[in-house]
């Protein structure tokens, strides 16, 4: 399954506001996307799932998706997580 490993750039981690932008992008895709930190995986289209990971600045997370357009989608989401939304 295609996946990407990403370092979180946002200074405040993946909290409410950046998490909302990420979740919306993941939900638009139409294919299920998994977000994994450590041993825990959640549905990337779920804001509560995403914030439950307690992702901080500099954390490493893994994105994975399957289906049509998965590679492009992962590239897009990776770009989103690598940008500092609080800057």
């Amino acid at each position: 399954m295609p996946e990407r490993s990403v370092l979180i750039a946002s200074a405040h981690g993946l909290h409410a506001r950046p998490a909302a932008a990420f979740t919306q992008a993941a939900a638009k895709a139409g294919v299920p996307v998994q977000l994994t930190k450590g041993a825990k995986s959640v549905n990337a289209a779920s804001i509560l799932g995403v914030i439950s990971l307690g992702i901080e600045h500099g954390d490493e997370v893994v994105l994975s998706a399957e289906g049509e357009g998965a590679e492009d989608l992962l590239d897009e989401l990776t770009a989103l997580l690598s940008a500092d939304h609080d800057a």
């Binding site: 200074a11 405040h12 909290h15 409410a16 506001r17 998490a19 909302a20 979740t23 919306q24 959640v42 549905n43 289209a45 779920s46 804001i47 509560l48 799932g49 914030i51 439950s52 307690g54 901080e56 600045h57």
Partner: protein, 554 residues
């Protein structure tokens, strides 16, 4: 017949309008099994979640800006697929839609609280969404600030930060709460936004919607069903006060010309413009910890320098008093003091925490000295939570050594106030933090609603401590500033000057009212008001004693 309820008034406003009650939080949904079966419950869930998300989104679009981003995140919570499958499985096990929503949200809420810090604060957002969904399912009014096409007086038990963010200032004429004291969240917000408010009004929750009321913040009163005479008096008082408040923006002074510089309390460089516009003559308290609340490692000298220089450039030729990091208790900084304490208000905070990690203090003073030397602002630095003469000596010497020309201490601990003559002998100035001084003098947790009534800076015990500091300042020729919520209360501000305060620092929105009130009194009159307050037996009596000496008591 006019009935008068009393409480603690905030500010100088007077407002007339119909009462509108903010609904109380909903009771927890009963855990009785569903009588209509899982499929019907799921249908109800779908409808309520979608309608709630849509409603929150619409409010967001109306609010715009920062509030819209927060509300959009809340709408996503109502739409959340993980939450939905959690609630569905509860419904499959026989729960009602209400109970399933309650339990599913509660699970996520506990998880957020468990994460701590910033995430724990988001638990309130989640609660708000849960309440809205449950209200919709139960067919009752959604909790939170009511909406109305016509202006109204908001009546509530107390306001939560989430409620206040959305207050439509065009519609809310005044706020009256049954709980809370002068430092409650509602009171602080009302002061910041300049909303007429009376807090701690017993019996106000019994008012039915639409009842006409007159809210008078100066008198701390709410007149219910006012007669023609009361209404007439209110409109004359409002006119009179508007005229008095209409003094030109300029330096703060008493009626006899005694200067009392009016300064701003700021927590970030973003507030500089508003402070300058309000006529702030400088900054009396710049709280540096808010720059670093989310930092997990200590900020570097270079990072700090950038922030400080930005602030200082806004005040060329003016005084800017910067407080070094005040970690602990209500504002933990993980890089300074991460150890859990049984009693953080009495723990390793303020100067104690800085001293335990002196390099952080040295870096901050170095960054401040550098920013000070490269801008035209008159920079002063002060240390929080000073309890002893020895700590005063330590901090003042270190600040001077690292190139900060003027260094002082905050007086927030009663021991420092009682030994003010010795403390001021070892430093350049004192600034009294009335919120903490009140908390420590009356042994009443600032953050605990059940003891809010004790958290009253008018209390003569607090005023007597302030008098000690004022006297020491006068005797030694050292400035004594005030930088707590107390300085934002116009009448108390006059009393504080009477006790020897030489400058007052407050939220920028409070400056105009305080400036207008100071101009009504001479130094001698301020001294007499202070005497009256000092000889009262509690805060309410001190207020009443001072008010009774005023020429007009509208």
């Amino acid at each position: 017949m006019t009935r008068v309820l009393t409480g603690v008034g905030i500010g100088r406003g007077i407002a007339v309008g119909p009462a509108l009650r903010m609904p109380d939080p909903l009771p927890e949904p009963a855990s009785t099994p569903s009588t209509i079966g899982p499929d019907a419950e799921k249908e109800r869930l779908t409808g309520a979640l979608a309608a709630t998300a849509e409603d929150i989104r619409q409010r967001g679009e109306k609010a715009g800006g920062q509030a819209q981003a927060v509300l959009e995140a809340q709408a996503l919570m109502a739409d959340d697929p993980t939450l939905r499958s959690d609630a569905d499985s509860r419904v499959d096990n026989g729960a009602t839609a209400e109970r399933a929503v309650h339990e599913a949200f509660a699970g996520f809420r506990d998880m957020l609280v468990g994460l701590g810090g910033y995430m724990a604060e988001r638990a309130t957002d989640l609660d708000d969404v849960a309440q809205r969904v449950i209200a919709r399912l139960s067919g009752v009014a959604a909790p939170g600030v009511p909406t109305s096409e016509t202006p109204f007086v908001l009546v509530a038990r107390d306001l939560a930060p989430a409620d206040t963010a959305l207050l439509d200032l065009e519609r809310v004429l005044a706020v009256v709460t049954s709980e809370g004291g002068p430092t409650s969240h509602t009171a602080i917000l009302a002061r910041e936004k300049g909303i007429t408010a009376v807090v701690g009004v017993h019996g106000v929750l019994d008012l039915t919607d639409g009842t006409p009321v007159v809210v008078d913040a100066v008198a701390g009163s709410v007149a219910v069903d006012p007669d023609a005479e009361t209404l007439d008096r209110a409109s004359r008082a409002a006119e009179e006060r508007a005229k008095r408040a209409d003094v030109p923006v300029g330096p703060g002074a008493l009626a006899d010309g005694t200067p009392v510089p009016l300064l701003a309390n700021l927590g970030s460089a973003d507030g500089v413009e508003a402070a300058v516009a309000a006529g702030a003559e400088g900054v009396g308290l710049f709280r540096t910890e808010f720059l670093f609340l989310d930092a997990t490692t200590a900020p570097t000298v270079a990072q700090q320098y950038t922030q400080y220089a930005r602030l200082l450039r806004g005040f060329p030729g003016k005084k800017v008093v910067v407080r070094v990091l005040d970690a602990g208790a209500d504002k933990p900084l993980s890089f300074l003091n991460d150890a859990p304490e049984e009693n953080p208000a009495l723990g390793l905070r303020g100067i104690r925490a800085l001293r335990a990690t002196e390099q952080i203090l040295r870096d901050q003073l170095t960054a401040l000295a550098r920013a000070a030397s490269e801008t035209d602002a008159l920079v002063q630095v002060m240390a929080p939570m000073i309890a002893t003469v020895e700590e005063t000596r330590y901090f003042t010497a270190l600040a001077h050594e690292l190139g900060v020309p003027v260094a002082g201490v905050m007086v927030e601990v009663p021991s420092a106030a009682l030994l003010a003559d010795r403390v001021l002998g070892e430093t350049d100035f004192a600034s009294i933090g009335t919120n903490d001084l009140t908390q420590y003098t009356l042994a009443a947790d600032r953050l605990l609603g059940s003891v809010a009534a004790l958290q009253d800076p008018w209390h003569p015990a607090v005023l007597r401590l302030i008098r000690e500091v004022g006297r020491a300042g006068t005797a030694l020729g050292k400035p004594v500033g005030i930088c707590g919520e107390a300085a934002a209360d116009p009448l108390l501000a006059v009393v504080l000057v009477g006790l020897g305060a030489t400058s007052l620092s407050m939220s920028p929105s409070a400056i105009a009212d305080v400036r207008a009130e100071l101009l009504q009194h001479t130094r001698e009159q301020a001294g007499r008001l202070a005497e009256a307050a000092l000889s009262a037996e509690d805060g309410a009596a001190a207020r009443a004693a001072v008010r009774s000496l005023l020429p007009e008591s509208v």
